[in-house]
Symmetry: C4
Subunit: 372 residues, 4 copies
Amino acid sequence: MSQARFYTLDDFEVAARAVLPAEVVDYFAGGSGSERALAANRSALDAVSVYPRMLAGAAADSATTMLASLAAMPVAIAPMAYQRLAHPDGELAMARAARTAGVPMMVSTLSSYPIEQIADTEADLWFQLYWLRDQDRLEQLIGRAEKAGCSAIAVTIDLPIMGRRLRDVRNEFTLPAQVIAANLVDESDSAADPGSTSMAHVQRAGASAVAAHTSERFGPTLSWAELEWLRARTSLPLVIKGILDPRDAIRAVEVGADAVVVSNHGGRQFDGAPASISALGAVVSAVGASCQVLFDSGIRSGTDVLRALALGASGVLVGRPMLWALAVDGADGVEQALSMLATEVAEALTLAGCLDVASSRDLRTRIEGSLR
Amino acid sequence: MSQARFYTLDDFEVAARAVLPAEVVDYFAGGSGSERALAANRSALDAVSVYPRMLAGAAADSATTMLASLAAMPVAIAPMAYQRLAHPDGELAMARAARTAGVPMMVSTLSSYPIEQIADTEADLWFQLYWLRDQDRLEQLIGRAEKAGCSAIAVTIDLPIMGRRLRDVRNEFTLPAQVIAANLVDESDSAADPGSTSMAHVQRAGASAVAAHTSERFGPTLSWAELEWLRARTSLPLVIKGILDPRDAIRAVEVGADAVVVSNHGGRQFDGAPASISALGAVVSAVGASCQVLFDSGIRSGTDVLRALALGASGVLVGRPMLWALAVDGADGVEQALSMLATEVAEALTLAGCLDVASSRDLRTRIEGSLR
Amino acid sequence: MSQARFYTLDDFEVAARAVLPAEVVDYFAGGSGSERALAANRSALDAVSVYPRMLAGAAADSATTMLASLAAMPVAIAPMAYQRLAHPDGELAMARAARTAGVPMMVSTLSSYPIEQIADTEADLWFQLYWLRDQDRLEQLIGRAEKAGCSAIAVTIDLPIMGRRLRDVRNEFTLPAQVIAANLVDESDSAADPGSTSMAHVQRAGASAVAAHTSERFGPTLSWAELEWLRARTSLPLVIKGILDPRDAIRAVEVGADAVVVSNHGGRQFDGAPASISALGAVVSAVGASCQVLFDSGIRSGTDVLRALALGASGVLVGRPMLWALAVDGADGVEQALSMLATEVAEALTLAGCLDVASSRDLRTRIEGSLR
Amino acid sequence: MSQARFYTLDDFEVAARAVLPAEVVDYFAGGSGSERALAANRSALDAVSVYPRMLAGAAADSATTMLASLAAMPVAIAPMAYQRLAHPDGELAMARAARTAGVPMMVSTLSSYPIEQIADTEADLWFQLYWLRDQDRLEQLIGRAEKAGCSAIAVTIDLPIMGRRLRDVRNEFTLPAQVIAANLVDESDSAADPGSTSMAHVQRAGASAVAAHTSERFGPTLSWAELEWLRARTSLPLVIKGILDPRDAIRAVEVGADAVVVSNHGGRQFDGAPASISALGAVVSAVGASCQVLFDSGIRSGTDVLRALALGASGVLVGRPMLWALAVDGADGVEQALSMLATEVAEALTLAGCLDVASSRDLRTRIEGSLR
């Protein structure tokens, strides 16, 4: 890999598309239904202008605190399933790069390495929880995350069912045998044999392995009551991910969330949803100082990070670009991508006249297209 | 037909275009004048974002009541003339599929099978009435609809004259001999001979057979007075179809309508009209709980259905996609399309956190493009 | 000419482009500068939706009164210079067709036939006045218009200098010898010899013959004072053409105008001007019932006419489409185009539920793109 | 050079692209990051419509006063570095043309000829100051500008660091040896030898020579305190360039600025910034009559100048078009471009009914796209 040709996060996508199988590219890049929410995430971000301030008198310091995590910049790795699809080192490589870059990483319930093994990298991990139908296994999973040293628990609430991702359906996409939901392998399974019996039925389930997991393991019965139970169950900071309506954000605060994530799941769930950035301001206003608000969906540059901060986010999650970087060059690729993003964030803050992340909230914004 | 290749309603259009004569495709797909209203129907729907709620705690139930009809989902088949143009089984196939799917079907005055024969399918039929110049035949037609067991009468009021559909004019489109306005054949005509004398002059009328029917049989003299007469004439629920200005909706309520249909006739009448969805909210506000508001024009997915519901509709009519499905595979095609749509509606409701159709009205909406 | 292929006014443009020299097409079709105002005229009209009303109970009557003229529809022919460029019969053919269609025609000061000869067609003429530097000739011209029986005088006020029409400049466009400003030929000139000495210098002026006329004959010194003089000078109804700011409309009323024309000169003068339709509403509000408001720039269909009426215009001027029709088939072409437009206007009014032109002002409008 | 083919300022760009090396074109034309701010500068200007007034009674007088400078039109040459990249005569040619046209020229700190030599042209120069890290050299530079007879000092405040200009980075753009920052050459350097030792390290710095200068010579520590010092240090009129937020404009007034320049640096600094024109109105409102407001970024025609004036600017800076003209034909090219722009400005003012620059502020504006 000639490192010199990567100048933007998008350059990693171009390179990754050249090395990944087409159906894996589709699985990573695709959205649900018409992919309108997916497209809106980008177009709505591009329409946000931020009025820079001048003469701050110093370069910006990008360091910040999200939940209990000190981070080198207001960025965390978004939870993404099955990272071995991108690279054999999967979540292990992603975590190593996150640790080097000094940013937290959200580990998916559907990670392709077990949480314990990922924790061995000593990265700052937030465990992302899909609510399992099986209560015993759910409690077990929470316990494993705690024991592995995760510094937060994040529950994804926007997946009562999986969005219809037509690319995967048309491709009849299935996971290769070596890519498994490592955290969900029965104890009786041979973890060393990812193609073991208990997982095999998932492969057979047909059109979409992830859809199969979802309908089998998870369900639409999750309600606020379970989140109250979880809040009592663990002392870790609680993140509730997948909120667009401010009324849900208020509910999350009532349940005891330490942070909410404004997200339309990267355009992969309800395809009639607004762009995530269109929902951010109202959520920030609704929760005030009650909890942190993180932003997810569509971040592709330091300028995008600043847009979210100016609209009130305490930080952002970045997903697909890190998968592309992982595909391109494993841990080194992600490290390079995070380093590039860190530079961009620092430059955006400095060019906007912010001494630090907190001061970015004072910036004014507008939607390009009207002078008023 | 390989059923596996239909993943969206639009897929049926692609397939139908491959099997139908070009001028029939134009007749089905086309709009009036510049086709601006036609295009606006789609672009305006796509611009409507709906803020999903989270953690409803259960999957949605799509069943609902429209007029006196229990329906498996808030969808009815729109009234479309001359369905034998799409498939030899025409309205008979459409009705069979509607019955299987558990949705009502609006039967056009200009159906190519007589209403009695369509009623034999035991589908839940709403009879769509064009106001005939000949009062005797009009009363006769109403009586036939009642006797056939239709569960509602719907009067189309947006066709004082027919919109200038330039595709048909350029194509010099005429109906094939075997496609007739079966409900309007004189009793003295031989119904078994669709090319019979009384219909033949319609074919000869030249440019557009439908235009010929319209100018000959119908006229611009219809007024609210006649609707009052009709309201007194029948005890069936009354639907008034083709309303865009809220003042007309209020008038419809005064006349005794049980439902109004917000519609620009699929972009086929006044081409300077707004997109139907742009007119929905004000009509809903104007009529309040006085009558149901149905929505028509441009629905192509379950997400579109949810958009209309969130803006206050009690249900929607779906037209062209069902014609395309009919062309592709008769009753089986429509059944497949309705089944697909039912799944999409259920998924959209569930992903938006609605337990049922009624709760969808509580969803917030926005027009993508402005953050405020 | 196969008449059957003309279904919209735009069809005449397509046909005319095939028969006219490219530089004449550019002279007719072009706008000034970036042609942004030209483009905005069309895009802004297309964005205007009109909410049709239903069940008027009768077809519409398009007849109306503009100034002192009874017209078959709320349309007049816009003043356009040098119509012999389009067809040898020029303004004579245009006037014959206007008379047949029952609509007024504005005759340009720069007509290529003398006003007296055009008046011989017995069309209802409004004389369009460019303010000549030479006061004697100006008075002479007004007298000729009155004597020829013109039923109104219209002063164009948006041409202090000519807009920079880059197509003409790049083409080094000059008038052919036989096309002259017939009303401005000196009495001492041989009117039978259009290439006579007094006109020859105009040809020699180079880049643009019209620009030459303008700078030589007209000037930027015209002010409201001269319009007051004109108001006193003639008893004909006075039209002031070329208004976009409502403050100028109020001034026009004070001066005694019977009508103002909201116009950006078809995008041919100030290229930073708004689309004409964007200026209409405020002018209508400003003048109230004090004078009629006519609309000009971009009308291409009956639906466009209705848009202007719904926004408060008493009628519209139609320009380029009539020139294209003239080029295609002389008086017969224009007659066909006006007949088509009359049908479209009647259909638009009827489809919008208007009994007459006056009732169209009660229609509601919106700009497609926002639901509020 | 055939002068006849230049009809708009954009024509110079087309011609310049044919004669300049591709990487120099990229350096001139490019913006930072995604180049969204660059593109927005143009699209936002095009969306501004100005309502012309009629019958002013005379042609416009374009002459005006900006700061202490009498100018033939409300235009000054924007400060642009390294003009020898465009033409061997560089800033000398630019200044000669500015003098001929009667407009001020802002000379960049990074000019490729020394300020003294440029001043020899007797043009009206405003010296643009980048704040050097070395206080002694900074004072020296100010003194040189004063001594050379500059009539204003303009401090650029939107460059705490340089924006990431990806075209230059991808091109690994470096300055040719003969193009130097002539004002920054050490006195001990041989000014006659632009490739001298002290500059050579800049060339070696790699990716971008300008970036190298920036990081080495300038820094993000500039604050309002230094501007107060400068205000006290010089009696020349003070211009503060690079303001988008009105709060910074108010601060500039407090510091004693005689003018502020609303600018996003031609889209070359913070790529999330709004279009400059989107920021103009609020700045004008904020400062009122306290100081002049100049506008920069995207001006390409006299119509654009009028747009800025109508929104409250006292004048505009024009950059890239003058560089292109310089590349095409040196001083003659710029003279021709400025002459063209002067004609366009006069025509735009006259077509908008303005007698002078001051009256243009009374014009109404709108953003094309909404009627309200």
